[in-house]
């Protein structure tokens, strides 16, 4: 176990530290999510009461579109100075690289969500949930984001081999994350808008958890084939 977690932590720490020094990716992701919110306000009149039904969908659109930006950077930055080859020949399990990259990407996207989701609620004058609903909401966001990142990290590593990886990644990623997007939007809607039938939200969360486990394990096993020269 230690031979897996120690390098994974080192890679995640390296990514986070590099990000801390430049603040390039996070800033871009934040500005982008802000722009998406502004675009939403033009597309759907925020003063209209019926628009609150769209907020759950907006949360996930923001997550996925800004997440794609972060995922693109995650491996293309390793191409500079041949870092990618360095990672490949490093005496660590390739799965550890996957684990570390997943962790770093997850932290980036969660950070963006912590800022942009309250901003969305604020700008669309959405009534804030409290108590048990909030706990459910946080769990749903975490489960959905984790599933998205687990698949996204694997496919981002796959897409970096292409010269036009920025264009390739969304095309590979969107069809594959449909289940988790459907489940996340439905569960978020139940918790935020309906505020009843928590059991229905629970079954969606089970679906997300199953998806997370399946694709995390698949990514874990197949990552070495993606990274091999």
């Amino acid at each position: 176990m230690k031979h897996l977690f120690a390098p994974a932590m080192a890679i995640a720490r390296k990514d986070l530290y590099a990000e801390w020094k430049t603040k390039q990716t996070i800033t871009t992701m934040l500005i982008f999510s802000g722009l998406v919110i502004v675009t939403f306000s033009f597309a759907f009149d925020p003063s209209n009461q019926a628009v609150s039904a769209l907020v759950p969908g907006m949360i996930w659109v923001i997550t996925i579109f800004s997440g794609i930006l972060g995922l693109n950077r995650s491996f293309t930055q390793e191409k500079q100075n041949d870092h990618l080859h360095g990672l490949m020949v490093a005496p660590v399990d390739p799965s550890a690289i996957y684990l570390g990259k997943c962790l770093a990407n997850l932290i980036f996207v969660l950070l963006v969500q912590i800022i942009s989701v309250p901003l969305l609620f604020l700008l669309f004058d959405f009534q804030v949930i409290s108590g048990v609903g909030l706990i459910y909401f946080v769990m749903i966001v975490f489960l959905g984001t984790f599933g998205f990142i687990a698949v996204g990290t694997l496919l981002a590593a796959l897409a970096t081999h292409s010269k036009s990886s920025e264009m390739l990644l969304p095309i590979l990623l969107f069809p594959l994350v449909t289940p988790v997007v459907i489940a996340a939007v439905q569960a978020t809607r139940i918790v935020l808008v309906d505020q009843e039938g928590v059991s229905a939200a629970l079954s969606w969360m089970q679906l997300m958890a199953a998806y997370d486990v399946i694709f995390f394990v698949v990514g874990f096993l197949l990552f070495e084939h993606v990274l091999e020269v």
Partner: protein
């Protein structure tokens, strides 16, 4: 010159291909006869229902083709044999063609049967996502890099793509049942109450299209091998010109 020609003619369409083709032509004609003349016209939907035989048969064969992609992707990752990669790639392309047939015949039929071109029903949505997924698969196969690397990446995508199909289907079915409690039961799922002659025709057309799938697979493999051969010859020619 003669040497090169013999190299090219060294790869000829196999005997199996000719035999399959010889079976496929009469079988397709028989299938046409069965579909358009032999089976009775459906009482509710009229002649439009005839599209059903090709629609369902293409859908089944598309799934079959994607299953083959999955199996040969796994085989490739374990054995690293180039022929397995070629089979997976050709099968993925044929699967996309079959899926496109399903998605064009489907709306034509739906327009007259359900009075709408498209509904976001689980099977329809899953098929659409399937199409996007395997188009992405073909895009990976067309990346510009050494074949070993490309084959490995495509195999990884072929495996996770296929693993995703049941989850997509399940999640869309749940989503749908939350919106509309009444699930459309006419159409494809009416197989239980199918007239025996219709059922026979359906099964016959499924096998006909499966035969066509195998012919296309053979032909595709043949073309791929020819491409490799041409590439080899080009390299040899270049070497000759340099030296």
């Amino acid at each position: 010159m003669t040497n090169e020609q013999s190299e090219l003619t060294g790869i000829v369409p196999s005997k199996l291909h000719k035999v399959l083709l010889a079976i496929a032509v009469p079988m397709t004609l028989v299938a046409m006869y069965l579909v358009f003349i032999w089976t009775p016209i459906e009482r509710m939907m009229g002649p439009v229902q005839k599209i059903f035989y090709f629609h369902v048969a293409s859908a089944w064969n598309a799934f079959f083709a994607f299953f083959i992609v999955f199996v040969f992707s796994l085989l490739y990752l374990f054995t690293k044999k180039r022929s397995y990669d070629l089979i997976a790639g050709v099968s993925g392309e044929i699967g996309v063609i079959f899926t496109a047939i399903v998605l064009t015949t489907g709306p034509i039929w739906a327009r007259s049967a359900w009075n709408t071109w498209w509904t976001w029903e689980p099977r329809l949505t899953t098929t659409l996502i399937l199409l996007f997924m395997y188009i992405a698969y073909i895009m990976i196969r067309n990346l510009d890099m050494e074949w070993q690397k490309r084959a490995r990446l495509a195999a990884v995508f072929g495996i996770i793509g296929f693993a995703n199909v049941p989850i997509v289907y399940m999640s869309i079915r749940w989503w749908e049942s939350n919106l509309h409690p009444v699930v459309m039961s006419e159409g494809e799922s009416a197989g239980g109450g199918l007239e025996p002659s219709m059922l026979f025709t359906l099964i016959f057309s499924v096998f006909t299209l499966m035969l066509i799938y195998f012919i296309l697979l053979q032909k595709g493999l043949y073309v791929e091998k020819l491409k490799l051969q041409v590439k080899k010859m080009k390299a040899k020619e270049q070497e000759k010109m340099i030296s």
